[in-house]
Amino acid sequence: MGREDPPVQLVDILRADFRTSRDADATSTELQRVLALPYRYHPARLALGLSLADPAAPPPPADLLGRPIKGETLFGHEENDLAWWTGLLVEHTGLAGVTKRRLQDDVAAHWQRGTQLLWTRWERHEGDPHLFYARLIGQLAAS
């Protein structure tokens, strides 16, 4: 075994690639289309947010064959954006000294789980995609 990975730094996240399973990526692409979202990172961010609301750890994906998104794209290249995204992901683990690798795995799992949740809710929704967000927020407020 080599030496243990160091705890993650924001700059690591900025440069790192994030991906999920192939299926989750495909679903994510479909969600991007149906929700008329301009960029791939949009459905990914929504999926991550939705999954983070569940305190349970997301199951790991079957593979990591989805197309990658750079950290600076997935979370934004502003320091503050990177900071709160990382803060939420790390806080959800409840662990100290989380490594970059661990963070990439968690993102893959949250991405997958969030995509699934998002798709399920979309399927129950009919109508303007933008009004779908209102429903999401409403459900959130009710929960």
Binding site: P7, V8, Q9, L10, L35, A36, L37, P38, Y39, Y41, H42, R45, L46, L48, G49, L50, L52, A53, P55, G76, E79, N80, D81, A83, W84, T86, G87, L88, V90, E91, H92, L95, A96, G97, D128, H130, L131, Y133, A134, L136, I137, L140, A141, S143
Partner: protein
Amino acid sequence: MRLLSVVSEETWSAIRDGCAARGVDAGLVACLVQARLRFAGAGNRRNLFAEFDRLLDAAGEAGDVLALPPALRPRGRSKGAAVQLRSLSVRNWKVFRRVEVHCPEHDPERPIVLLGGKNGSGKTSLLQALLFGLYGRWVPAEGFRDATGSSAHRRGAYRKAIESAFHRRARSEGEPVMSVTLAFDTAEGRLQIDRRWFFGPDGSFVDEDEEVVLQVGEEGDVLSVPAGIDPHEFYQDEIARRLLPPALAPFFFFDGEQVKRLGERRLSEQVRLGVESLLGAHVLRDAVSDLRDYARDRARDAGVETLESEDRRAREIARLEERERTILERLGTLEAELFPMRARRDALIGELGGMAAGSFADLQEILERRKRNEGAQVHLRQAINAFAAEELPLVLAGRRLREALAHRLRQEEAAEVRSQFGSRHQDALEAFIRAFSEQDPPLDEVEPSLAARIRAAWQAWSGPEGPEELRHHYLAGRSRAGVLDRLSRAGAEHESQALAIIRDLSRAVEEHAALTGLVEQHRNRSERRERLAGELDGLSVTIEARDSERRQLDRDLGELRSTLFPRREEDQLRRRRQEAAVPALRRAALSLRVAEGVEKTIGAVVPAYFEVLAREATRSYRALAHKDMVQRIHIEPDGEVVLLDRAGSPVQDLDASAGERHVFAMALMAAVADLAGCALPVVMDTPLGRLDSEHRDRILSFFSAGKNQTILLAQPDEIHGRYLAQIEPRIATSYHLDHEAGADGPGESIVNEGYFPLATV
């Protein structure tokens, strides 16, 4: 004259049957024709029509049998024994001052009386003396007649003829009388006719100034006139009955000119003339003409037209009324069609007018609003997308995680401060409290409690224990503060912002749907407008066509009524007059029925005699014509004459030859004379002048072969030498005329016994 003196018995019989078949009694017909005969040549027809009135009134509704007075009843013409002229005396007649010609008692073996005379010596004057002496004003002065002459014209012509016949010297010497005296031996014995014409001092012949006296028997008794009968009429009737009706006279007493005139007619005309004369049809035709004039006259007097024109008017009114009905029906139909059409048109115009008002502007405004709405939606969606990308994930992560993170970050911040200050931080706190209480103005009572509160806050902030290790080590102080700030803003604030945007979008989407609905509505309305406009166009064309037809019909109706209404009024007026004039109209109608019956009967009778005449004409023509090619004369039912050869084929060229027509005319005259059934003398004036030698032979032998008295008035170069020898054995007596030229004007002729001495063989 009596009816049967001028109309043959056969004709009368047919008229009787023909009229009976038409519900008109023959007695009435006889009376009417009789009246017509009586008033013929009597100037205007007022008296004749008054007599018609009387007769037709007496006839009753259906033309009942009239009780004819015996004197008016038809009596048969005298037939049987031969009639001979025994003497002809004239006084002051043309070139004769006083002349007498006597014929010996008739000997059938010597029937010819030959009277020679050069041109201008007075042969024709003697022939005319015979005719005028017999018939007076009824003389067939124009020769053969087949048309109804105007009585006024005849009257004038007669007066002129009499005045010019008056011997010039006698007139200049102031003699007042001209006379012709004729003596005949007839079946009823001797008949002498003495006719005198009286003249004024200026030589003018005054109407009615004519006397005729008939004497009968060896004693010369004047024939008495029955009471109530005009002597003239009575005598003329007797002349016609005992001798010959005027119409037949030209077939017995004729000159070369007369034969020529007859010969100038087509054969068929000659035949028709012959038959009509034989049957007396012209008398009936004259009566028919007068009856029709009478009907017209009475109807006019009654203020109405003739029955025919009344019928025509009634038919015309009926036709106009029918047309009016047709127009009114059509107008009704058009109105019924136009009413709903106009209502529909008004509805269309109203609807289209409403639709047209501001519709375009409305649509433009709606389209602009929708455009703005779409622009706003784009912005809203962009905002939502931005929110979805930036804020929503943080919101979605949930309050619990956000608060947990914030709490942890604050703990880790406190722990970091503690680790930096260590045990010195309690001393520093006490020093701070002292400095705080020394500040002016003093706080007095609250000071101790404030100090206690500051110590408690310090204790709470620094915590009893910090976390053992840093979970969020990667966040430097500045980053941690930024995250805490962001976390504090997430949640309710972001949610409400997002929901506001989404609500705006939702409204915009709803408004867009509403606007799209309005646009659709406008489009639908536009389509409907086009459809309605199309319907309106079609409807307008149909209405205009119907209206145009209606206007035309209105005009037609106006024109028609401008004709119909006056006619109807006139008709009603006429009917009222008719009711007042029923008797006159009844008489007029009856007279028309009689006229029609008589006319149709003549039309049927005349052709029936063609065959009889054809047979007789064949005989005489074959004797006269030197061309032997004609075997038989056939007369078609329409009067057309066909000359047939031995093979029965038509001989074509005869009608084209003037000479042959002349011979045919003589043959026809002979046939008619023969068929007339009267053994009257034949008086021929220069009959041979125009004929070639062979025809002369034939005509002389034909006329001299008969047993009837034949008086030949001949020129010396006409009958002389062998021609004279040919007839010599048949001559009973002969005369010749000598003329002495006068010093001032025409001279005077006298009659001497014996033919021209030089002309004898």
